[in-house]
């Protein structure tokens, strides 16, 4: 048996996130780690992913890891540059996006995301960047994936501010709110995978990374996390995955910590 490559939890999180994408899907790609995960998927099992960025690049095939979602490398060789109006109206609101892929500053029990402000909105303790396109991506994509490292601060029971609606927002379900997409079906963390429970509208622990315990995850989550009876195992990254991440996709370590 080939020895597993040494890897960091952040690398495995990225690899697991990439595995969520099926070849040929149309993905609306958020800034940061989602961007890295999508490009890893494209470099491995999903060469025909159609990557769409809110900047208007459609079918991007970046020759370098795009630093931002408006990188020129997303344009060169793309299938299309859509206007931002068409990107939001016709592609996203038009129901053409199969997967929305987001990072989150704070994700709560019901999958709501806060990227606006920690503390009081008018005079916040930490002012975050705001929605960008995340609000509408999470509303319209047929399903949403979220990726982010566990910590009690990043996973509170309830976010201070709902920037991006989850499975249930201030007591109302997506159906009640009229949202067409399924919302955050999976949140990929650096300890395991949280999955939506359609009935309760809560995120539950569904899969564990090697060497991580359910209690280890619960300690880093701010609510009494439901742990499913049978947790799925998570395969470690392949040596090729790790090589691609470190040597090809993010050699400058823009997103991956050493």
């Amino acid at each position: 048996m080939v020895a597993a490559a040494p890897y960091t939890p952040q690398e495995l999180m990225t690899v697991v996130a990439a595995r969520e994408l099926r070849d040929g899907e149309v993905v609306f790609v958020g800034i940061g780690l989602p961007n890295l995960a999508c490009n890893l998927a494209r470099a491995t099992h999903a060469p025909n992913l159609v990557l769409i960025y809110e900047s208007g690049a459609v079918g991007a095939v970046p020759e370098r890891l795009p630093v931002s979602i408006g990188d020129p490398a997303l344009v060169t060789g793309a299938l299309m540059v859509a206007s931002m109006a068409d990107t939001f109206q016709c592609l996203l609101q038009g129901g053409r996006i199969e997967v929305g892929f987001l990072g989150g500053a704070q994700v709560d029990r019901h999958g709501n995301i806060n990227t606006t402000a920690i503390g009081d909105y008018a005079r916040p303790r930490v002012r975050l960047p705001g929605s960008g396109g995340a609000t509408e991506i999470a509303i319209h994509a047929r399903r949403t994936l979220v990726v982010g490292a566990l910590s009690p601060r990043a996973f509170p029971a309830e976010v201070d501010f709902i920037t991006t609606p989850g499975l249930r927002s201030r007591g109302r379900t997506r159906r009640e709110l009229g949202h067409p997409g399924a919302g955050p079906v999976r949140v990929i963390t650096d300890g395991g995978v949280l999955e939506a429970n359609a009935g309760s509208g809560e995120l539950e622990l569904a899969a564990l990374f090697p060497g991580v315990t359910a209690d280890g995850v619960r300690e880093r989550v701010g609510w009494p996390l439901v742990v499913r009876a049978s947790l799925q195992p998570v395969a470690p990254p392949s040596a090729e995955d790790v090589r691609l991440l470190r040597d090809v996709l993010d050699p400058g370590r823009l997103f991956l910590k050493r």
Partner: protein, 303 residues
């Protein structure tokens, strides 16, 4: 307005068209953000501006730090790919009085500019239900469809006093062509009361007329044309120069430290007369960032 009368220097354009108290859009989504215009606005000491853009970016952080802004209308205020806009954060988190903010998502800002461009008072969109954005921004409302009875979100038109749009090439009348990411340049230009087009290349009308489908903004909405090569640095211009990511990364440390930021403004904005001097101060820039050649083939417009 005669075409020849429109071509002016950046100094003249800002002096003539940007006034204290104006609402201003310096457009561009990562691509084609006109830092040269922002720096000239700082140099000319404009005050009480309402700065509007989806992504404020470093140039608005610099303008906030320089005291030009009273209010920010936006949807994502970060340092793209690098981190925070610290002058913005200080202005919201600790300054007294704080910077006024009016906040949407990207779709909401796109819709506001689209409504402004179309001379509609509002734009309908499927958005915001279940979020806290309408609670902190009373300009996010609802409208009922007269056919289905559905309730949709609605945002008001944004018609800025001035739009400044950087483009790859324009003629002396302001007919402007853009390729690569389009941002909301077109919407901002049609929505604004006054429009300054800043171009990498000032070309003859014949160049524009040879490929009319590339024209994003017609000269008939443009008031001033400024030729300012590399005027978007450290942002980029597809086919001309790459984004200066090193500067975006370096801004983290500069912006975090108020004194250092002040020093940067003194050295790079107040201490320089214009963009030419800014470029002369960075002799290796062209070599480091000039674009590779990836030419598209032309198409036939014959009949």
């Amino acid at each position: 307005m005669t075409a020849s009368g429109k071509v002016v220097s950046m100094r003249e354009a800002i002096a003539a068209h940007v006034r204290d108290g104006d609402s201003v859009v310096i457009d561009g989504f990562t691509h084609l953000i006109c830092f040269a215009a922002g720096h000239e606005i700082i140099r000319q000491g404009r005050r009480d501006l309402t700065l509007c853009r989806l992504t404020p970016d470093l140039v608005y952080d610099q303008m906030i730090a320089a005291g030009c802004a009273r209010k920010l209308v936006f949807s994502w205020a970060g340092n793209p790919g690098a981190g925070s806009l610290f002058a913005f954060r200080r202005a919201v988190e600790v300054s007294d009085p704080p910077l006024e903010i009016e906040e949407y998502s990207h779709f909401g800002m796109v819709a506001r500019l689209a409504a402004g461009a179309a001379n509609l008072p509002f734009w309908p969109l499927r958005d915001y239900a279940g979020t806290d954005l309408p609670a902190v921004n009373p300009q996010i409302r609802t409208v009922t469809c007269p056919f289905t009875g559905e309730q949709l979100a609605a945002v008001p038109a944004l018609n800025p006093d001035v739009a400044i749009v950087h483009v790859q090439r324009a003629d002396a009348s302001g007919n402007a062509q853009v390729w690569g990411l389009l941002g909301t340049q077109k919407e901002a230009a049609f929505a604004a009361r006054r429009v300054i087009v800043v171009c990498e290349e000032l070309v003859t009308e014949e160049v524009i007329r040879a490929d009319p489908n590339r024209t994003l903004i017609p000269g008939l909405v443009v008031h001033a044309v400024v030729r300012e090569p590399w005027g978007a640095h450290p942002s980029y211009a597809q086919g001309f120069y790459d984004r200066d990511n090193d500067f975006y990364v370096a801004w983290e440390a500069i912006g975090r430290d108020e004194r250092r930021l002040r020093g940067w403004l003194d050295e790079w904005v107040f201490g320089l007369p214009d963009r030419a001097a800014y470029l002369a101060k960075q002799p290796g820039l062209r070599e480091r960032l000039a674009a590779d050649v990836r030419m598209a083939a032309g198409v036939n417009y014959g009949f």
